[in-house]
């Protein structure tokens, strides 16, 4: 892997690079959820919308499994970030 490729930011919310993702996959963190726990990829405001597919592809390259057979990790609500004041009002504004 050349240096420029290594520096590509894959998770913009948590500023995680391709190099870091590959390093931790090599260290045995070979599911999306384990990478999420150790690097916080997919835990920022976008909830993995930007990085999930790219990380699954890296996992696929490393493990030899097709992307369709790799667990995409857990999706948690809310589907979009919601303001505390709105939630506190129970949806009434």
């Amino acid at each position: 892997m050349n240096e420029r490729e290594e520096e590509i930011v894959i998770c913009r919310c948590e500023e995680v690079t391709l190099g870091e993702i590959r390093e931790w996959i090599d260290r045995g963190y070979q599911t999306f959820d384990e990478l999420k726990r150790v690097l916080r990829v997919g835990m920022g405001p976008c909830q993995g919308r930007g990085c999930r597919e790219m990380i699954l592809r890296e996992l696929s390259l490393k493990t030899g499994k097709p992307v369709s057979e790799i667990h995409p990790g857990t999706f948690r609500p809310p589907s979009k970030p919601v303001k505390l004041s709105l939630l506190a009002a129970g949806g009434d504004t």
Binding site: R76, P78, P81, V82, K83, L84, S85, A88
Partner: protein, 383 residues
């Protein structure tokens, strides 16, 4: 990776308890240790917890455990070679009732006598510690600056990595289906991938520890309650640097070093169906707590909510012992919502017990036989 057929010790569960126990055993020279995890590392209660670490407790045992754990957390990065995300912003405990404040002041005396420098603070000082706070209706506050939080994932992974370097074998996606024992002694475990013979088996199965105990014919009164929690987007740091907690109003809120805020509270109805679902009720009531206590968070957005299991005992204190009925079968469970923060010390103490040494903090009173004898050690300071 193939499953070994024999081991010196089998640890069930790769949360903080299992990983800390495996590490401490390996560090003490035990060679052949296998940790079994039915899912991935840190996928259960540890990875779902509120991440708090405190020595502000209401019983002597918990104070001793809390302080010893903080001392271990303070040098964990050096010991394990990995940053565990420790942040010591203190715990700011808020009392809303006079009687509650009296109890907290009693606890301060106990804590001070044990070397924990907790003190009562005024509302003005509380607002210096927690600049976003608005709590006109509070009666009093207590603060201990060495409390705080750490990253449960990184801490657990740090123990796992260090244990692996010492030769510990971790097996993911391996579920224990039975415990084998003969003439009052444990002889091994059965899993979905085959069996392992072992003279020592440790039950560190968190929310499922009562099921594992039952497989060994050991009855413990634990139950598992679903608790919910949420996290916000990162915002300016300094809104809530300490863990802000109230026992009477059942909430805790903290701000991570990156600025995102975490909040949890005790659930209505204490659901015990082993589900890990989430509710809109929680989302709304927790949000009301946020905007009331920390008005500056009104415009902050919630990014994610999830839940996890508290493995409860009748006195909210853990079970840390060898089983009477089955020798060689050890339990480290029932932490009632504070298993993460005790993990570093409970792993060390159980290791000492397994090796036949005297644990450096007595744990006799944490045997499950206390429930039959009625010798409960009820801890009042729980959310």
């Amino acid at each position: 990776m193939t499953l070994k057929r024999t081991a010196d010790v089998v640890v069930i569960g790769a949360g903080i308890q299992g990983c800390s126990i495996a590490y401490h055993l390996a560090k003490s020279g035990i060679k052949d240790i296998v940790v079994l995890e039915r899912s991935t590392i840190c996928s259960g209660s540890t990875g779902r917890c509120g991440a708090g670490i405190r020595a502000q407790w209401g019983t002597e045992m918990n104070c001793r455990f809390g302080l010893a754990a903080i001392e271990k957390f303070e040098q964990l990065h050096e010991e394990l070679g990995m940053d565990c995300g420790l942040h010591q912003g203190g715990y700011l405990v808020v009392a809303f009732e006079e009687s509650e404040y009296e109890h907290l002041k009693e606890s301060i005396r106990l804590q001070n006598s044990l070397g924990i420098h907790t003190r009562a603070v005024s509302y003005d000082e509380a607002r210096e510690i927690c600049p976003g706070l608005s709590a006109e209706d509070a009666v009093g506050f207590t603060f201990h600056g060495r409390d705080g939080h750490a990253d449960p994932f990184l801490t657990t992974f740090a123990y796992m990595e260090a244990a692996r370097r010492l030769g510990v074998d971790y097996q993911r996606f391996t579920e224990v289906r039975g415990i084998r024992y003969e003439a009052g002694k444990v002889t091994g475990v059965e899993t979905n991938r085959g069996q392992i013979d072992a003279p020592v088996v440790v039950n560190a199965a968190g929310g499922h520890s009562q099921h594992i105990a039952k497989m060994a014919g050991v009855k413990i009164p634990n139950s598992s309650e679903r608790h919910e929690i949420l996290i916000t987007e990162p915002v300016e740091p300094g809104i809530c640097p300490p863990m802000l907690i109230s026992f009477s109003r059942n909430f805790y809120i903290q701000q991570r070093p990156n600025g995102s805020m975490i909040g949890g509270r005790s659930p209505e109805g204490h659901p015990q169906d082993y589900g890990l679902g989430v509710s809109r009720d929680f989302l709304e009531s927790m949000s009301r707590t946020f905007v009331k206590l920390l008005p500056r968070t009104r415009g902050v957005r919630v990014v994610r909510q999830w839940s996890g299991l508290y493995n409860m005992t009748p006195d909210c204190q853990p079970i840390l012992c060898e089983a009477d009925e089955v020798k060689g079968f050890f339990l480290s469970c029932g932490y009632s919502g504070h298993g993460f923060m005790f993990g570093p010390i409970s792993g060390e103490l159980l290791t000492q017990q397994i090796l036949g040494q005297e644990p450096r903090i007595p744990i006799m009173m944490l045997h499950y036989r206390r429930f039959e004898k009625g010798e409960l050690l009820v801890e009042p300071a729980i959310v």
